[in-house]
């Protein structure tokens, strides 16, 4: 809610061809979240970089977001559907089953999207930066070592922002899609209940029917006929608590990523970014470290 649906905003064809339009981004207000470190901003291509970075990040995100989100959400929904249907087969409260599924699917879809998009996104941001810089008035040759370094640094600095937006799109779509994926399992439960069979006899049908399990498991380890034991929901709650991002030295996009940025939050973030940009020089060293990590 609130934010734009990135999957619904295809690249308008004219935006790619007309240089005049190149400073607009399809993702609203993206420019406010872009980071340009002082080291780059004060360099020879600093002004041009500031102009083109939002467009490059915008294009890179939209280039890869759809296949990444589709694949991640599809896989996460299938896994969640099967495991939740099995674990909650005897749980009378449908809302708990839905809640568990949402926690699990958003974590799995977000994790898969993030791990899948990261490298392609970094490469794509750099590619678009280079292409856009070459169109700028001035002399970006694309071969100069400083220029290459500026492009790589800028791509690395804005990678977390792009990852966050893609991850967010994946988790939101996963939560929308999981209800549909769960519908057959929920209908089957509903039918049993209406037929007066309740949930107590579901313990065997949700197994394969051949083996001794789950019936042979001790009560603490299997879904209980009368509903989950108090400690069991804990496993699903843990999907919510897991941190999904590595900890990076610089905090700007990273903080936003961990907090599922609401627009209010992002505005606040923007102010912080502006403040941080002033004192960004000492972080150049840590950026270097990050870059050398990528290339190894």
């Amino acid at each position: 809610p609130g934010g734009p649906d990135l999957l619904q905003s295809p690249l308008p064809p004219q935006a790619q061809q007309q240089p005049g339009l190149s400073e607009q981004t399809v993702i609203p207000n993206l420019a406010s979240y872009i980071t340009i470190s002082a080291q780059i901003a004060s360099g020879p291509s600093g002004a041009a970089m500031r102009r083109v970075a939002p467009v490059a990040v915008d294009r890179a995100i939209r280039e890869i977001i759809q296949p990444v989100v589709e694949r991640s959400v599809t896989i996460a929904c299938i896994t969640t559907r099967d495991l939740v249907a099995k674990d909650f087969a005897t749980e009378p409260e449908e809302s708990r089953m839905r809640k568990a599924a949402q926690l699990m699917v958003s974590n799995l879809a977000g994790s898969l999207a993030l791990v899948t998009c990261k490298e392609p996104l970094r490469v794509s941001i750099a590619k678009h930066l280079r292409a856009l810089l070459q169109q700028q008035p001035g002399s970006f040759s694309g071969s100069d070592q400083h220029e290459q370094h500026a492009v790589q640094t800028c791509a690395a600095e804005n990678l977390d922002l792009g990852c966050m937006l893609i991850e967010k799109a994946a988790t939101e779509k996963a939560i929308r899609d999981i209800d549909e994926a769960l519908a057959p399992a929920l209908n089957a439960r509903q039918k049993r209940f209406e037929q007066g069979r309740g949930y107590s006899d579901m313990i065997s049908p949700f197994g394969t029917g051949e083996g001794r399990y789950p019936a042979a498991l001790p009560e603490a380890l299997r879904p209980k006929a009368t509903g989950l034991l108090a400690h069991q929901f804990f496993v699903y709650e843990a999907f919510q608590r897991m941190p999904r991002q590595a900890h990076f030295p610089q905090q700007s996009a990273h903080q936003a990523a961990n907090q599922q940025a609401s627009s209010a939050h992002m505005q606040q973030q923007q102010k912080q970014n502006q403040q941080q940009n002033v004192s960004r020089v000492p972080e150049a060293a840590s950026n270097q470290a990050q870059l050398s990590g990528y290339s190894s």
Partner: protein, 286 residues
């Protein structure tokens, strides 16, 4: 060894899903992975017990952030590899293999196979992940092959076959071999020239590398892959051109002199791509 009572597994499984602390879960992972050979029922217990599969998936996705930039510690690698060992157990068991596939669990290991760092924690992670896929294909179940062919497993294996450690190369080649031995798998790989040459080129590069640094077990899988490719007529034609010379001359003769199986495979392969085989085949058709 006599089957021990599964009773001793239950507290460990509970400790895995409802740990008092992260260290508790870690020691349960270790203990259970050590016991996996001794208990035939471990796989169904892991699958059917409440929340265990979810817990193992949490262990896997928890280290995704350390993959790029590569930042996986030996400790974290060991821990997740114990979780992977348990998944391998679930993948191997006839009662749980189908459920494991249907839930698409193998796909959560692909980000591990996609890493390129040569550091030991990553090597170990890739090797253990390959072990899970290897356990799946070992069962000669066409459902497994059909599932894998819809995923990126072949390109992932091919890259490891080019760049991995000797052990990783061997497991990756074994997986490709098992895919090829399935009729659908062979048809899939030979369906386009692009796919065929992707596989054939990597195999040829490996043969070249083996001429410098021989490994009999790896050579054996490579020869078996070539032999199976030669069952496909179009691939057979192509192999007449692109089979490496090292397999046609006696480069490896000294290394395989004690292995009758690989000798037999190699001579069948050379026969299949010979003029004589073509002539025999035409005679049969006539």
């Amino acid at each position: 060894m006599a089957e021990k009572s599964v009773e001793e597994l239950y507290p460990l499984v509970l400790q895995l899903t409802v740990p008092d602390s992260p260290e508790h879960r870690e020691s349960a992972l270790l203990e259970l992975s050590k016991k996996r050979e001794a208990f035939a029922d471990l796989a169904p217990i892991l699958w059917h017990s409440f929340g265990t599969m979810g817990t193992l998936l949490q262990e896997i996705v928890a280290i995704y952030p350390t993959l790029s930039p590569p930042n996986l510690t030996a400790h974290a690698s060991n821990r997740v590899c114990n979780a992977l060992a348990l998944l391998q157990c679930v993948a191997s068991h006839p009662e749980t293999r189908g459920l494991f596939l249907a839930a698409h669990v193998p796909l959560y290991l692909y980000p591990f196979l996609n890493t390129v760092s040569k550091n030991r924690p990553f090597e170990y992670l890739r090797l253990t992940s390959l072990g899970v896929v290897g356990a799946l294909v070992k069962m000669d179940d066409s459902d497994v092959i059909n599932f894998l062919l819809q995923t990126e497993i072949i390109p992932l294996c091919l890259r490891i076959m080019e760049t991995g450690s000797e052990l990783s190369k061997t497991v990756a080649t074994f997986i490709v071999q098992k895919v090829l031995l399935d009729d659908v798998g062979l048809t899939y790989v030979c369906a386009t020239a692009e796919r065929f040459y992707a596989v054939a080129t990597v195999l040829a590069n490996m043969v070249q590398a083996l001429a410098e640094q021989p490994s009999i077990r790896l050579l054996k899988h490579i020869v078996r892959c070539y032999l199976r490719l030669s069952d496909n007529l179009r691939a057979r034609e192509a192999l007449r051109q692109c089979l490496p010379d090292a397999l046609r001359d006696h480069t490896f003769a000294a290394h395989i002199k004690d292995d009758l199986t690989v000798q037999r495979w190699l001579s069948s392969l050379l026969y299949n791509i010979s003029e004589q085989a073509i002539a025999d085949m035409q005679a049969q058709r006539a």
